[in-house]
């Protein structure tokens, strides 16, 4: 039992092991819910949901669907399965960070980043935000992010808000 505990509280696992865990998760998603894992769609659903409340005329287009229109929207603005999955991802990351005691609010503490761009947190935020906007745009055009398009993999780390999340999230990043 203690060995299991010690194993779970390791800061990082072998990528092969973590990959097997993700593979099983992807498998269960199809088996139990007949869905593929994906994250970019969830961000777009949330964006559409908010947008339709704030500026309905702008968000009434082919992408998010037109009221009474016959064409199927590309992204349905609703709380759907993948939005809930996203909530789970958030808590999963938090849980993992707590389990390895690396849960901490961070703003800019990656040594490599600091060495290249400098230590100021605002730079990190600005670059992260710009990068995230580009990522979201790209995934919208491509029709998915890493996870959706490659059976059920990575992603989520690369979405508009994810950068904010990373700081709020967990960050099991090594102290140095």
């Amino acid at each position: 039992m203690n060995r299991i505990k010690a194993f779970i509280s390791q800061e990082s696992w072998s990528p092969y092991l973590a990959g097997i865990l993700l593979g099983i998760v992807g498998l269960l998603a199809v088996l139990l819910a007949n869905t593929l894992l994906g994250a970019s769609g969830a961000f777009e659903s949330i964006a559409g949901l908010i947008g339709k409340k704030i500026a309905p005329s702008v968000f009434s287009n082919i992408y998010w669907g037109v009221e009474g229109g016959r064409a199927m929207p590309v992204i349905r603005p609703e709380i759907n399965w993948s939005v809930i999955l996203l909530v789970g991802i958030f808590f999963g990351g938090t849980l993992a960070a707590i389990s390895s005691r690396t849960f901490k609010f961070r703003f800019n503490d990656d040594t490599q980043w600091k060495r290249i761009f400098g230590p100021q947190p605002w730079k990190r935020w600005v670059l992260g935000f710009l990068g995230a906007v580009i990522v979201a745009y790209g995934s919208g055009i491509a029709g998915g992010c890493t996870s959706g398009l490659a059976i059920s993999v990575v992603c989520c780390l690369c979405q508009p808000l994810s950068y904010l999340w990373r700081d709020l999230w967990f960050l099991a990043s090594s102290p140095f």
Binding site: L32, G128, G138
Partner: protein, 93 residues
């Protein structure tokens, strides 16, 4: 409702494995693109192999039917992928 519970549980598994694999760290993401740290590829490929093998076994046993996947449209995928890569390398998340 029950599918939402499944989604929460699977999401927790997803987030947990991402964190434990170290994909929440900037240097892991950035160094993958510089080919000095292959963590992401090892992680992704392992997941793909496990999921793919399992899915085809399950389909062979008749337990699952594959969900519909988005159709490939090469131009969109290519351009989108390129833009996505720029953003990812810039943000590093």
């Amino acid at each position: 409702m029950s599918t939402f519970i499944i989604a929460i549980i699977l999401g927790i598994g997803f987030g947990f494995s991402l964190n434990k694999a170290g994909l929440t760290k900037y240097h892991k993401i950035a160094n993958q693109f510089r080919f000095t740290d292959m963590t992401i590829l090892k992680y992704m490929m392992t997941a793909i192999i496990v999921a793919m093998t399992g899915l085809y076994i399950f389909r062979g046993l008749g337990w699952v039917t594959f969900p519909t996947v988005p159709a490939t449209y090469i131009v969109g995928n290519l351009i989108g992928g390129l833009i996505f890569g720029v953003g990812m390398a810039l943000a590093g998340y």
